[in-house]
């Protein structure tokens, strides 16, 4: 029997079964073991048939759809109301305009490619495999993102006299006290079956290791919390533990201390090197010619055969009809279009509420935080600014861009957005001074983005209440006629690029099925 090379074998499979078959066989052969290397929707090439897809919005969801659909022969147009592609993937650099309604700002960072601020999407969890696969395909270089830095601070107006404490100290002490309690309860009570004597020993050992207890299973401070003095050539003296009641007075333990335990918000993450918008640029290299900027959609009308979209481009009213529409317009703005959607669809569109997230970037003349042993990561505070982020690149260079505020708790959005940009800047500097006393001397300028005030968006990540999600979420995953809502807004993980991509794939998979069924019908009728 003649041997067939694996490459030749795949070619034969491809000829017989199409690209999807190649992928499945290649996976079976272990040739494509990289996780997430395959997009979800396996789209069959149109092979000469004509199908028009109108994509509303050139954010990550819309760009993903155009990229995939074009590859298999669909005729795509993206209508984008703003003057740029990317949606909430927005990297700000020298001279960029922030199109906040009524309060336009210009970014005054120095003209330097290292000085940028990811005002929207900023980090990528390794578990977001579809986004990873697109980064690989589009040649977007990645770098590590430190989402968990024990040397960064926690500051709480209600504890430690309002002074910032290193997270390592807080976490070491909290774990120490908890472990001590566990050790006591394990020793004091004969544990019921099925915990045997040997397990009791192991539990004690776990408690000791988890909290760094001494040989008597007591917590007397730990080098994990850092040293008061010494440590290398001088004897290291670690901090005296905080009073347990003081640790409890602080609110760090309630949530922020465990922020990085998730798979979305992980300790170790990634980001696009040089700015998150390199992902947008990667897509635009492939499908930029399909994007019409400054094209404002005014109406979406379901017709017998497709969907009719009316829009204004350069002051001119235009209409286009597509076989399908993939619509990533935020649902709260979609409700304001002229449409003929069915009642249950409209009710579902009204269910998600617009998010009100706010971020501010600051340019520092000196990387003072690195002198304080902080390289990347996040400081937390109980004040409205909530977080300070330190840059994950350009260590030891002259200047750097900090995130000076990121408010995302429900109801907190109005705090900064009610202010003028100048007032926001002053207030962020005032609050941050409690974490880095005197930092204002190094801060040269700032730029703020209030997503629910941004022109063409008027909202950040959609917020679904549990009840609304139960009632309406599934409805929005299904089309109305040939109209599909896409974007991170129709996912269980709103606010992630992965969600925008996954929702686009879900819609494309459905379109693919319908089109294939239509084409089979045509063939039978022929």
């Amino acid at each position: 029997m003649a041997t067939v090379s694996r490459r030749r074998f795949l070619e034969l499979v491809g000829a017989a079964g199409g690209s999807g078959a190649v992928y499945r066989v290649a996976s079976a052969l272990g040739l494509m073991a990289t996780p997430g290397a395959a997009p979800l929707a396996q789209l069959a090439p149109l092979q000469g048939a004509k199908r028009k897809v109108l994509i509303l919005g050139a954010g990550i969801g819309g760009l993903t759809a155009a990229y995939e659909l074009r590859k298999v022969g669909y005729d795509c147009t993206i209508l984008e109301s703003s003057s740029r592609a990317g949606g909430r993937n927005l990297t700000l650099r020298h001279g960029d305009r922030v199109d906040e309604l009524g309060q336009t700002q210009i970014c005054r960072f120095d003209d330097n490619e290292d000085l940028y601020f990811n005002a929207g999407a900023a980090r990528i969890p390794p578990d977001h495999t579809l986004l990873m696969s697109y980064c690989r395909t589009l040649g977007v270089e990645l770098q590590l993102w430190n989402n968990d830095n024990r040397n960064a601070y926690y500051q709480d107006d209600n504890a430690f006299g309002g002074k910032p404490v290193r997270q390592r100290q807080y976490i070491a002490d909290t774990r120490g006290f908890m472990s001590e309690l566990l050790a006591k309860s394990v020793s004091a009570t004969a544990l019921d079956a099925p915990i045997s004597e040997i397990d009791t020993e192991r539990l004690l050992a776990l408690a000791k290791a988890f909290g760094d207890l001494d040989d008597n299973h007591l917590y007397a401070g730990s080098s994990r919390g850092g040293y008061k003095r010494g440590s290398f050539v001088l004897h290291g003296e670690h901090h005296t533990p905080f009073d347990f009641s003081e640790l409890m007075d602080a609110s760090f333990w309630r949530w922020a201390m465990h922020f990085n335990e998730g798979s979305d918000q992980a300790g170790t993450m990634l980001t696009a090197k040089g700015g998150m918008d390199h992902i947008v640029n990667g897509f635009m290299r492939e499908v930029g010619d399909l994007v019409k900027l400054n094209a404002w959609v005014k109406g979406v009308e379901l017709t017998a055969r497709g969907v009719r979209v009316s829009y204004i481009e350069k002051g001119e009213r235009k209409t286009e009809e597509g076989d399908f529409v993939l619509n990533s317009i935020p649902t709260h703005l979609l409700l304001g279009l002229r449409h003929n959607f069915p009642k249950d669809y409209v009710e579902a569109l009204a269910a998600p509420k617009r998010g009100e997230l706010f971020k501010m970037g600051l340019q520092a003349s000196k990387r003072f935080w690195e002198d304080d042993r902080i390289y990347g990561g996040i400081s937390w505070t109980s004040q409205p600014i909530t977080q300070i982020w330190y840059p994950n690149h350009g260590f030891h260079s002259e200047k750097g861009i900090l995130l000076g505020a990121y408010t995302f708790f429900p109801g907190a959005g109005a705090y900064f957005t009610k202010m003028t940009p100048e007032e926001r800047y002053r207030e962020v500097l005032r609050q941050g001074d409690k974490i880095h006393p005197g930092w204002a001397q190094y801060i040269e300028n700032g730029i703020s983005v209030a997503w629910h005030r941004m022109n063409h968006m008027m909202g950040c990540s959609a917020e679904w209440s549990g009840e609304d999600a139960e009632k309406h979420f599934q409805r929005l995953l299904k089309p109305a006629g040939r109209h599909y809502v896409i974007g991170d807004q129709v996912t269980y993980h709103t606010g992630w690029q992965e969600g925008a991509m996954r929702s686009a794939h879900l819609a494309m998979a459905d379109i693919n099925q319908r089109v294939q069924a239509e084409l089979r019908g045509d063939a039978q009728n022929a």
Binding site: G299, G315, R453, M458
Partner: protein, 212 residues
């Protein structure tokens, strides 16, 4: 006395510029198209961001509203965040001429009349409750320019309900300089329950949008 004087001055002001909307209006005026980001792509109002219908409203009322926002009579109360967005926009308009042009532009938009969205109101009871309102807003809810009382018929019912709640809670009509608002605040007190408000709105929904 002071109130009366203010009212008289306002009325004089009105008389001095009788030609509201007189400059020719370009509906595609790029200076103002951002308004439809919130107010609905056809200026018909958008419940998604609580922004009311603009099309079909008279320019004098839109102008009054813009001035009220600029003066801090609207959109400054703690629980009026939607109003705060609008206040920022009103303040962002340039001089008085641009404000008038913005109002004329919005008034020129052709917005479809909104369908009622509120349920549970009793229009017959609402008709009785509306009697004192008609003195200013007109028997058909068509609005009365001389009294600077805006049309109510043809406005989004969810918007009117929210405004009645704002008046009742003192989030509108709190500033003594805002004489029209103060008057409305007092009268909103006569619709003291959510049921009263629903009933009046149910009645207004029967009137249909006035001809522009």
């Amino acid at each position: 006395m002071k109130t009366l004087l203010t009212l008289a001055l306002l009325t004089l002001g009105l008389g001095a510029t009788p030609s509201y909307g007189a400059p020719p209006v370009d509906v595609a005026d790029a200076r103002f198209t951002f308004c439809i980001t919130c107010h609905g792509a056809n200026a018909q109002g958008n419940p998604g961001v609580a922004a009311p219908r603009l099309g079909g409203l008279p320019a004098w009322h839109l102008e009054n509203q813009l001035r009220a926002f600029r003066a801090g009579w609207r959109g400054v109360a703690e629980a009026d965040e939607h109003g705060d967005v609008m206040r920022t926009m009103a303040l962002a308009l340039g001089d008085d001429a641009e404000l008038r042009e913005a109002a004329a532009w919005a008034a020129s938009l052709e917005a479809p009349a909104p369908a009622p969205t509120l349920t549970g109101g009793d229009p017959r009871r609402g008709k009785t409750l509306y009697a004192p309102c008609a003195a200013c807003h007109g028997t058909q809810g068509e609005g009365v320019a001389a009294l600077e009382a805006p049309p109510l018929a043809g406005q989004n019912d969810w918007y009117l309900e929210a405004q009645l709640e704002h008046y009742a809670a003192g989030r509108r009509g709190f500033d003594p300089a805002d004489t029209r608002g103060q008057q409305m605040r007092a009268l909103a007190g006569t619709l003291s329950t959510a049921r009263d408000r629903r009933d009046v709105l149910a009645y207004l929904a029967t009137l249909g949008a006035p001809a522009p």
